[in-house]
Every structure is written in structure tokens, then in C-alpha cells.
């Protein structure tokens, strides 16, 4: 089966390369040769990347020869940040990097895509999450007039705004759905990064002494705040979130941190992981390897958590209790994704690592020179696979 499709994949790969490098790709998507995904396929990842300064979103496939190959690519007007698959559907939502002004919904089965522009007085902050039934999508945003953090509640089909909820903070970044049983009602966990920045002038951070990061729980039906937690050190920005779930254990939320201390040595030595539990609240891990104070992405794994630390060129790993495990060396490591069966996938500079059990397997990314993965990727859930 894979052999039969190799020529097509090579064609897609070549086409991606040529279009990306020549800058002649169709203006929006126009990617006609998309290969539909079936549950027999090898693991695939949805990801965002750049080639020669041009931003793309699309799909990478783990081929039989140790290469991750681009099998679908959509040209983007500006860089993307997060990407998320709709539950039970072969549909992906890619979110513009902050301060962003677009969402792109696209199909894993064909060349269909739909772009949505945000209103003039809001910007997207890079992440979105679907409700478990796939009918709603929630986006982190900043209101430009007030600077307040906002969760945009949107219809998953039209992407139109249905409501706006305050995040009780500013600079909201990633948000995740809480597993059943953690709260009494459906709940969103939102990371208020708390960094004062000026979206109207780009990404400049001004007034870091006013930082106010927090983790907030919002009732996912009303937007009411049902809990808010802060770390003692306000220079640790709370940015990326992932759950670890294991049988007979309460879920643990891993929180990747971004240190913003003025002193470079303090910044470099800062923790990059905090854990949140319903009973103990939010706590930064006291002793961690030197990860240059920046966790760019986090995922739950079989054993606990993994964080991509691009400034330290490694993937750091912990148990769900917070005990450090052996890190993986990977240049420019950042995107991480994990699932039972396929293990941990971590992306770096023109290469990736798959960790199943204790042995990391190297993968090259068979793409044009200079492909730069952005912060996040996610494993594709094949059609008919259990959620």
C-alpha cells in the first residue's frame, strides 16, 4: 500500500519544494493533490512551518524510509502558531501567530479550505480548541481597545463569533478542555500569559514589571471564572498547556513556562514546567534541568510530560509527579505531540525524534533545505479511530 502511493508523495513533495522556493504557489490553498487519510496509514502530523520566509500549514507523513514527508501544504499570508484537529472530523483549524488576524479551516481529505478574518478591534493570540462535540471552537484573543484577554466562542462551521468571554487577565495564550470529572461542569483551562505587549505595534513587550500571569478555569457554557491560580514568581509567563491522563489517577495539567526575568542568568535557570492538580493548585517544579527558561510547547505522554525547549536544543521529559526523565537532544527542538501507541513525536531543525518506550528513533524531514518548523504540531487522528 505505501509503495503504491510513493510516486504521488514524491510528486507532492517536489511540488511543495518547487512552489515554496519559487514563491509561485497559488495565493491561498489550491492544493489539488491531497491524499486522503485512512486508519491504516502511518502516523501523520499537522504542523506549521516556513521555507525561505514563506509560511505554510499542512500535513507531514512518517514514511517507511525514515523520512517525514510533506503530503499537504497550504500557503499562508503570515506565520501560523497553533493547529488543532476537530474531534471526529478530518478538519483542521490553523491559527495565525499573535497578533494574528486570520483562522484557516482546512480539510485533510481534499483541497477545501475556509479563511476567517477577525474583527478590527481584536487579534488572535495563536491557539484554539474545539469543544468535545466539535460544534464550537474557542480562540484566545486580545481586545485591542482595552488590552483585555478574551476567549472568543465561535461556531465551528462558520467560525463566526457567538460570544466573547473575559479571561480575567491579559495575553491569554493556549487553552485546553478539562477532562470529565475534573470539574463539575464543562470547563476550559486558559493560560493568561500576563505579558504586557502591544499588538498594535507588533510583538514588543513593554513594562514587564507589570506582568500578571495566571491559570484560569472558565465555565465552558457561561464563561464564568470558576478558579484562578498564580505562581509566586510573576516573571514566569504561563503559556502552554497539556493534560496527562492515566487510569485510576486524577488528571494532571502540565503548564509550560516562559521566563521573562531581566537578569539573563535568572531567566536561564528558571523552571519551565508547573503542574496543576485540582487538589493542590498550581506549583512550579523546584528542580529542573537547565532549559534556558523557555518551554515552547508541551504534550502529555505515556509517562508524564514532554516540553520542547528550543533555546536549550532538547526535549525535556518528566513523570506525571514531576520527576525529571532523561532529555532528548534535538537541535531547535520545539513542537511535541504524544499519544498512546505512537509515542512521543518531537520536531527540530530538519529532523525529528519518535520515542516509543526508551529508544528514540531519528527521523529526517525530507523537505527543502531550510524548512523551519513552528512551535506546534499535533498527531492526526485517522477517520474511525477511537477518540
Amino acid at each position: 500500500m505505501p509503495m503504491a502511493t510513493d510516486p504521488l508523495r514524491r510528486h507532492l513533495l517536489l511540488r511543495t519544494s518547487v512552489l515554496a522556493l519559487s514563491g509561485l504557489a497559488a495565493r491561498d490553498t489550491a492544493w489539488a493533490g491531497v491524499r486522503p487519510l485512512t486508519k491504516e496509514d502511518a502516523p501523520e502530523l499537522i504542523a506549521n512551518w516556513q521555507v525561505g520566509g514563506q509560511a505554510w500549514t499542512g500535513r507531514l507523513r512518517a514514511g517507511p524510509s525514515g523520512h517525514l514527508q510533506v503530503v499537504q501544504a497550504l500557503k499562508l499570508p503570515t506565520r501560523a502558531h497553533g493547529c488543532v484537529q476537530a474531534p471526529g472530523r478530518h478538519e483542521v483549524l490553523t491559527v495565525a501567530r499573535r497578533p494574528g488576524d486570520w483562522l484557516l479551516k482546512w480539510s485533510l481529505d481534499n483541497a477545501r479550505s475556509q479563511r476567517h478574518w477577525i474583527e478590527d478591534d481584536h487579534v488572535f493570540n495563536g491557539h484554539a480548541v474545539f469543544s468535545p462535540d466539535g460544534r464550537r471552537v474557542f480562540t484566545t484573543e486580545t481586545h485591542l481597545d482595552t488590552g483585555d484577554g478574551v476567549v472568543g466562542v465561535r461556531d465551528a462551521h462558520s467560525l463566526e463569533r457567538l460570544a466573547s468571554w473575559s479571561t480575567a487577565g491579559w495575553d491569554p495564550h493556549e487553552l485546553v478542555w478539562a477532562p470529565e470529572g475534573v470539574f463539575e461542569r464543562p470547563t476550559l483551562m486558559v493560560a493568561n500569559g500576563g505579558i504586557p505587549y502591544q499588538p498594535e505595534t507588533g510583538r514588543a513587550k513593554v513594562g514587564l514589571d507589570r506582568m500578571a500571569p495566571s491559570l484560569v478555569a472558565l465555565d465552558a457554557t457561561t464563561g464564568q471564572v470558576c478558579g484562578q491560580w498564580r505562581l509566586p514568581d510573576p516573571r514566569l509567563s504561563v503559556r502552554h498547556l497539556a493534560w496527562h491522563q492515566a487510569p485510576d489517577q486524577p488528571p494532571v495539567l502540565g503548564v509550560a513556562l516562559q521566563a521573562e526575568h531581566d537578569d539573563p542568568s535568572q531567566r536561564a535557570a528558571a523552571p519551565v514546567l508547573a503542574l496543576w492538580r485540582r487538589d493542590t493548585g498550581l506549583q512550579a517544579l523546584p528542580a529542573q534541568p537547565d532549559l534556558a527558561g523557555y518551554g515552547g510547547a508541551i504534550t502529555g505522554t505515556d509517562t508524564g510530560f514532554a516540553i520542547g525547549a528550543p533555546r536549550a536544543h532538547r526535549v525535556a521529559r518528566w513523570t506525571a509527579r514531576g520527576d525529571a526523565l532523561e532529555p532528548l537532544a534535538l537541535p531547535d527542538a520545539c513542537p511535541v505531540a504524544g499519544r498512546v501507541g505512537t509515542g512521543l513525536w518531537a520536531g527540530g531543525r530538519a529532523s525529528a525524534r519518535q520515542l516509543v518506550g526508551r529508544t528514540p528513533q531519528p527521523w529526517s524531514i525530507a523537505t527543502p533545505d531550510g524548512l523551519l518548523l513552528d512551535n506546534h504540531w499535533a498527531l492526526v487522528t485517522p477517520r474511525d479511530a477511537p477518540p
Partner: protein, 373 residues
């Protein structure tokens, strides 16, 4: 009255004396930044040695020769607009037309765009863009304000940004729906005064960053300011590429013209030219030999050549020349093909800035992969 007299007169009235004194001191008020004419490349570096500049000398030159003339021009234009509106409201001429007021607003927009294109120092710290240039204006919110309009500057702080600043004035000056009664005129005057007040505060902030020349010592650490300016310069390229040109075109509805930022007044192209001139002037030497430190502007190209980094300097010069060619003469309404060409040339300039210029300068860009997000 000449402009300086006008400023002094109204400064006294609005308690802006110290700021105006700052402004009229030193170099001529007419010291305007260069317009966005096509830039001929300077080749004097091939014949004359380019000095080696320290980072702090480059930062000082940015404030002294790039930002100060722009801040002065903005302060002058904003004050002129405020004075004109106040005079018109107090005593409307018999055959009044909006042409003079519109032109005063357009000049203010020009100089504001030139100053704020590369948003650094006080423009960032004061959040001036949000304060006086929040886009788009919301006519409904302005209408609510006009039901009970404020009369003092400090009362404007309670009013949302979409009902203030240059976009709100643009709506009042150009929209056929805008009321032209005395209350609206007084509110417009108050908005113009707020813009003028902000302009003077920005000028003061720029002046404060210019050393008095009494010390030859290299400051302890010029790296943060150096990094901020280079980062914001790259951000300015992206702002012009995407926010001003690319997004309006990409988001236009079928068979509808793009909604450029100053569509109502038809002044979008003036903004593009002013922003481009600011970006370009920070990047390349357009004429004459490279100055000694403290004697003239030091574009990035010159700074790089002074360190023997001719490869990135040449790439920068070429990319700027190409963008200059595509931006020159771009007008509104702009043919889609021409806008696309301008966007592509700015994309290329940004790539050169990110891939060659910033690494050569050892500046970590906030637009790069590992910048935190």
C-alpha cells in the same frame, strides 16, 4: 503668525511651555525627514573608508538624526491642526470649506506616520499608536460621546480609543454622516489638542534620549536599545507589508475594492510613502559619504559596511532598492497587481532583514522561532 509664534501662543494657553521650548530650541523646525522619493544607491563606500561605529553611536544617531526631525515635524503639524480647528470653531469663516482643515489633518497624518512607522522608545512606552491612532474609528461611539461631549483633555481618558485620535478626526472631516455643529467642532478641537499634546510628549521623550555630548564613554549596555530598534524596524516592514497593503487586499470581498487604512480620506498612499521613507532611511545610505559618528544618520547598511560586513549590507541595499522601485508612485486606488508586487518586494526585504542583517548585527529578533510564544 509663523509656526513658531503659533506654537508659543498656544503653548502658553495649554500649559505646554516647557515642551515647546524644547521643540523650538536647537535645529530648525523645518527640519523634515526625507520624502519617499526613489533612493539612488550611494556608492561612496567603494571609494572612501566607512568609519567603524559602536552600537551606542548607532543608537544615538537614530534618535538624533532619524527620530528627532520626525518628532519635531509631527509636533509642529499637530499643533497647527489644533490651532486651525480651534480658530475655525470659534469664528467660522463666511464661506467655510473643509479643504484647509483636511490638508492640515493630512499633513499631521504624514508626519505621524513617519514618526510611528518604526515605533520605538517613547512611542512604545506611551502606547501612542493605541492612544491617538486606534483604527478603525467607531462612529456610533463618537455619536454617543457627542451627546455629552467632554470639554477638557483629561476627560478624554474616559473615552474609548475608537472615538479619539486621528481616525476619529478623519471621520469628522470626511464622512458625510458626521455632524458639523458647534458641539462636534469643539469635540474635534479637543481631539486635535490631545494629538498635539501627545506629539509634544513624544518629542520630549525623543529629546531625552539624545546625549548632551559631554561624554565620550561608551554606555554600559547599548544592546537593549539597539535590539529594540532593529526589532521594531523589522516589525515596521511587516506592518507596511501586511497590515497596510497585504491584508486589505487579501480580505477584500469579491468585486469590492480593498479597505485600506485611510480609505475614508483617500490618504492611504501618503501613509505608505511616509512609512516606507522611515523604513528606508534607517536601512540605506542614499547619498554622500558615510558620516563620522555624531555628524549624521548612520543607516544599517553603513553600520554593516563599517564592520566589513559587506555581504549583508549589499543584500540589504539591493532589497531596499527593489522595494523602493515597487512602492514608488503607489497610489490609491491601487491596481491589485501593483500592490502584490509591492507586498512581494517587502517580503523579500523582511527575509533579508531576518536571515542576513539581524544575524550579522547579532540581534535576536522577536520575530524569530525561539522568541517565546
Amino acid at each position: 503668525m509663523n509656526p513658531t509664534t503659533v506654537l508659543r501662543h498656544h503653548a502658553a494657553r495649554w500649559a505646554l511651555g516647557p515642551l515647546v521650548a524644547l521643540m523650538v530650541a536647537g535645529t530648525s523646525l523645518a527640519a523634515a525627514p526625507s520624502p519617499a522619493a526613489e533612493a539612488p544607491p550611494s556608492r561612496t563606500w567603494q571609494r572612501q573608508a566607512v568609519p567603524y561605529y559602536t552600537p551606542s553611536q548607532w543608537v544615538d544617531a537614530v534618535w538624533h538624526f532619524h527620530q528627532r526631525p520626525r518628532a519635531k515635524q509631527f509636533a509642529l503639524d499637530a499643533q497647527t491642526l489644533a490651532v486651525l480647528l480651534e480658530r475655525t470653531c470659534a469664528r467660522p469663516p463666511a464661506n467655510d470649506t473643509p479643504a484647509q482643515r483636511r490638508e492640515a489633518w493630512s499633513r499631521t497624518l504624514d508626519s505621524w506616520s513617519a514618526l510611528s512607522a518604526v515605533a520605538i522608545g517613547p512611542t512604545l512606552e506611551r502606547r501612542s499608536v493605541r492612544h491617538i491612532d486606534f483604527q478603525p474609528a467607531r462612529p456610533a461611539m463618537i455619536g454617543q460621546v457627542l451627546a455629552s461631549p467632554p470639554t477638557r483633555l483629561d476627560e478624554l481618558d474616559r473615552i474609548g480609543a475608537p472615538a479619539r485620535g486621528l481616525p476619529a478626526l478623519e471621520w469628522w472631516l470626511w464622512s458625510p454622516d458626521a455632524p458639523q455643529d458647534a458641539a462636534a467642532c469643539q469635540y474635534a478641537t479637543l481631539l486635535a489638542r490631545q494629538v498635539a499634546h501627545e506629539a509634544l510628549a513624544l518629542l520630549q521623550g525623543v529629546q531625552a534620549r539624545i546625549p548632551d555630548g559631554g561624554s565620550d564613554d561608551e554606555p554600559a549596555d547599548a544592546a537593549p536599545a539597539f535590539g529594540e530598534i532593529v526589532n521594531q524596524w523589522v516589525g515596521a516592514i511587516e506592518g507596511l507589508r501586511w497590515r497596510e497593503l497585504g491584508k486589505p487586499q487579501a480580505s477584500a470581498r469579491l468585486n469590492q475594492p480593498p479597505r485600506f487604512s485611510r480609505q475614508l480620506s483617500g490618504q492611504s498612499a501618503r501613509v505608505w510613502m511616509a512609512q516606507w521613507a522611515a523604513i528606508r532611511d534607517l536601512a540605506v545610505q542614499t547619498n554622500g559619504p558615510a558620516p563620522q559618528a555624531g555628524e549624521g544618520p548612520i543607516p544599517l547598511e553603513t553600520y554593516l559596511r563599517g564592520r566589513g560586513l559587506n555581504g549583508p549590507a549589499q543584500a540589504l541595499s539591493q532589497a531596499v532598492r527593489d522595494a523602493d522601485h515597487h512602492l514608488k508612485g503607489l497610489s490609491e486606488p491601487a491596481p491589485a497587481k501593483r500592490v502584490r508586487a509591492a507586498v512581494r518586494s517587502l517580503e523579500q526585504l523582511k527575509r533579508v532583514a531576518e536571515a542576513q542583517v539581524a544575524p550579522a548585527l547579532q540581534v535576536s529578533l522577536g520575530f524569530s522561532d525561539a522568541d517565546g510564544d
